[in-house]
């Protein structure tokens, strides 16, 4: 169940250089949305829509937040949108993260993989630890959002200019050693996800990862967004937009 429409942007913020946070008033979408789902966003002048994760959902206000980085011409166009203007989205799409009442979660985000962690960390609230990794201090975003929701935050950067120096995978191992969670959820580059999946498996922890793939329809109809998964011991092509973007890490065939 999803909607398509042009919705008003009620706020726009710049979180870091080239990274924008827009809040969209779309009560029907917000009502349906779950953490980990995404929106297909139309960029004027471009044929295909851009998939952007739903960073956060406010069902009372009827808004969702989209946090995105300029990566090419389409996101550059999206960045031109301002408060008061309309944004054309199809949302909410795909399968979100599992929320298990009373269980403990570690939410690991790398770079622009951090935004989708906000919604799910909030859902776990005090039971969540958010591990975020960024290139450097200038790229750090969204830490206040986690804190405001009572989520413990652990920040690492590649160059140590903010938080600790190193990779989130190291942070994750440390944290597991401290307190083993019931579930790990993660979003970021494929190499990072693969490492996290390995760590989860080694420690016998359930793990969900959010994947990316180039998309067209975004709803499961065109089959372009294939990803290799294992079902019943057989390798098949699943589809990121419909079967994911969130997958059980054991299902995913990391190249």
């Amino acid at each position: 169940m999803y909607k398509q429409g042009k919705y008003q942007i009620v706020s726009k913020k710049t979180l870091a250089k080239g990274i924008f946070d827009i809040e969209v008033l779309c009560p029907d979408v917000a009502e349906l949305a779950e953490a980990g789902q995404f929106a297909q966003v139309a960029a004027e002048g471009f044929f295909l829509r851009r998939p952007i994760s739903i960073c956060d959902i406010d069902k009372d206000k009827g808004t969702i937040r989209l946090v995105f980085e300029i990566r090419g011409k389409g996101t550059e166009k999206l960045a031109e949108l301002n408060k008061g203007q309309l944004i054309d989205i199809i949302a909410p799409l795909g399968k979100g993260f599992k929320v298990m009442e009373g269980k403990k979660a570690i939410c690991v985000g790398g770079g622009i993989g951090v935004p989708p962690m906000v919604g799910i960390a909030k859902a776990y609230g005090k039971n969540a630890v958010a591990i975020s990794g960024f290139r450097n201090m200038a790229a750090v975003i969204l830490q206040e959002d986690f804190k405001a929701a009572g989520v413990e935050t652990i920040l690492w950067t590649d160059d140590g200019s903010a938080g600790r120096k190193g990779f989130v995978t190291d942070a994750l191992e440390e944290q597991i050693a401290k307190e083993k969670p019931d579930i790990i959820v993660a979003c970021g580059p494929m190499v990072m996800l693969k490492r996290i999946a390995d760590i989860a498996e080694k420690n016998g922890i359930e793990c969900q990862v959010s994947l990316e793939q180039r998309m067209a329809c975004g709803v499961g109809a065109c089959l372009v967004c294939a990803c290799r998964t294992v079902k019943d011991g057989k390798e098949i092509h699943s589809h990121v937009c419909k079967d994911g973007p969130v997958f059980d890490s054991k299902e995913v065939v990391f190249e």
């Binding site: 044929f47 295909l48 180039r214 067209a216 329809c217 065109c222 372009v224 294939a226």
Partner: protein
Amino acid sequence: MNRLNVNFCGVDFKNPIVPASGTYGYGREYECLYPLSKLGGISVKGTTLHRREGNPAPRVAETPSGMLNSVGLQNGGVDKFLSYELPNLVTKDTRIIANIAGSTIEECAELAAKLKGSDIDMIELNISCPNVKQGGAAFGTDCTIAGQVTKAVKDNSDKPVMVKLSPNVTSIVDIAKSVEANGADAVSLINTLLGMRIDINTGRPILKNNVGGLSGPAVFPVAVRMVWQVANAVNIPVCGMGGVSTWEDAVEIMMAGASLVQVGAAIFNDPFAPVKIVDGLQKFCEDKGINNISEIVGTVKPW
């Protein structure tokens, strides 16, 4: 008054707008936006004899006013289509076009035989998929083979057979005439134009398949030209497609000679595109006092 009902190969369509094969799945994903009964019909995802996993990803690349795809006919196979998709589709009050593709002539014939007696309304024989190694474009670019496949399917089918042509040929008219001569009840065109995009940062093709099929508004002028040429050369009806995204485009390709129109890539941009086109055509007829949209088919007057 519905001014849009058309008869195509003896099949009544409530309107001439049909989502194109491979762009609409089996309709399930769009039902939450509008009832499928608003559509003239659905050309379902290309079906093969056996389940296929398709090509590795990435399978899509954006292009100016269009896109490339290299799905490579991922589908669950004809048995799954018959047992799982078709029973659902028949309840939707819309026409069902089974798009089929085989790697050999025999496979195509076997596919057609499997669909015998089923509730599908028509067969669309895809001899033009650019994304598979066997069959596909190899069939659609050779007059003799195109004719043979057509005949094999016709001989094994109890449904009207429409043959889907490739635009990647020197003379699409020759292929159209060959499939007509071999019993095709209609032709549909165009399938995608073969294209390529390269990521200049990595120096690698964006598609894992290196090349893929171009569709979307970019190809519309090529589609109009080919529909016009083919409609003037054969005596069987033509189903037109390739870049249609507005009702004006639908009128244009119908004037060029298409009695039925498929809408593909435009749906990715706007999932409501097919129903907006239906509404636009209805209004166009009302405004112009056209009793039935069929009246405009092939009416373009060349200079």
